[in-house]
């Protein structure tokens, strides 16, 4: 922790280490977001996913072949503990819905939407903005395919709602998801979390 303070400064590291950040969906976006935030020294990560690691996830998600078949929550918590043992991890192996999101996410200061399904993304974004007025939300839309990396961007949509991605590249219309482009979008989300914690609210 002293090493992080030396890098980030006392005040910034205090803000990072006092923060609770929820990562909703632990696929290509969420697993990369969680690792970036753990390395930075975010105090508490709340990891939520219902799914298990599949062989088809390994091309872009931060799991290992040896973890196939395990819940993503458990596998990612294990990987994070190896990387950053000072991060407090809470896992919830469940499917988020309009009915449980207030209960499951009420501790979070900032919520990252990291689902892959468009309707699930919209459900979470509407649900968080309607039901959790104290939270910031960092969502993602459009990171599939082979387009130029520079088209991935971050916009501030509302007072506490940020959106990362190119906003148009639907996975259904492309060759699918490739690791670097998904990581770019995840990095935008993770960095936006840090900007918010640093008090830099404008993009």
């Amino acid at each position: 922790m002293d090493a992080l303070v030396a890098r980030h400064g006392t005040e910034l590291q205090r803000r990072f280490s006092e923060a609770t950040v929820a990562v909703c969906g632990l696929g290509g976006l969420g697993s990369n977001i969680a690792i970036a935030l753990a390395r930075v020294g975010i105090g508490k990560l709340l990891l939520i996913d219902f799914d298990k690691v599949d062989i088809t996830n390994l091309h872009r998600q931060q799991y290992k072949a040896s973890q196939i078949g395990r819940y993503k929550t458990d596998a990612l918590a294990e990987n994070l503990f190896e990387i950053a043992p000072y991060t407090e991890i809470k896992t919830v192996t469940a499917r988020l819905s309009e009915d449980n999101l207030t209960t499951l996410l009420s501790d979070a200061d900032i919520i990252c939407e990291a689902f892959d399904n468009a309707e699930a993304k919209a459900m979470l974004v509407n649900g968080v903005l309607e039901q959790l007025p104290g939270c910031f939300l960092v969502a993602a839309s459009g990171m599939a395919g082979m387009d130029n990396p520079n088209t991935i961007k971050t916009r501030k949509i509302g007072k506490r709602f940020y959106l990362c991605g190119d906003e148009v590249s639907d996975v259904a219309d492309t060759i699918g998801l490739v690791a670097p482009r998904v990581m770019l979008c995840a990095a935008h989300q993770a960095q936006t979390v840090l900007q918010i914690l640093a008090g830099e609210y404008e993009v």
Partner: protein
């Protein structure tokens, strides 16, 4: 005029639902912010757009 995603449109007086019906947006994939605050899904039918409003409609695509 109402600004929708940066474009001025002559839709003051319409509800959010009435405006959306003139577009290709899939209601299950969108979130609507009006002047920086979320418009609750349950309020689309009764939220009347006013002169000078700024609307941001986010339409999500799949992938993550």
């Amino acid at each position: 005029m109402v600004k929708v995603n940066g474009t001025e449109l002559d839709i003051a007086g319409k509800t959010v639902t009435e405006y959306l019906a003139t577009t290709n947006y899939d209601p299950k994939r969108i979130a609507v912010e009006r002047n920086g605050d979320i418009v609750f899904k349950s309020q689309y039918d009764v939220t009347v757009l006013e002169e000078g409003d700024s609307l941001e409609i986010v339409s999500f695509v799949g992938g993550g």
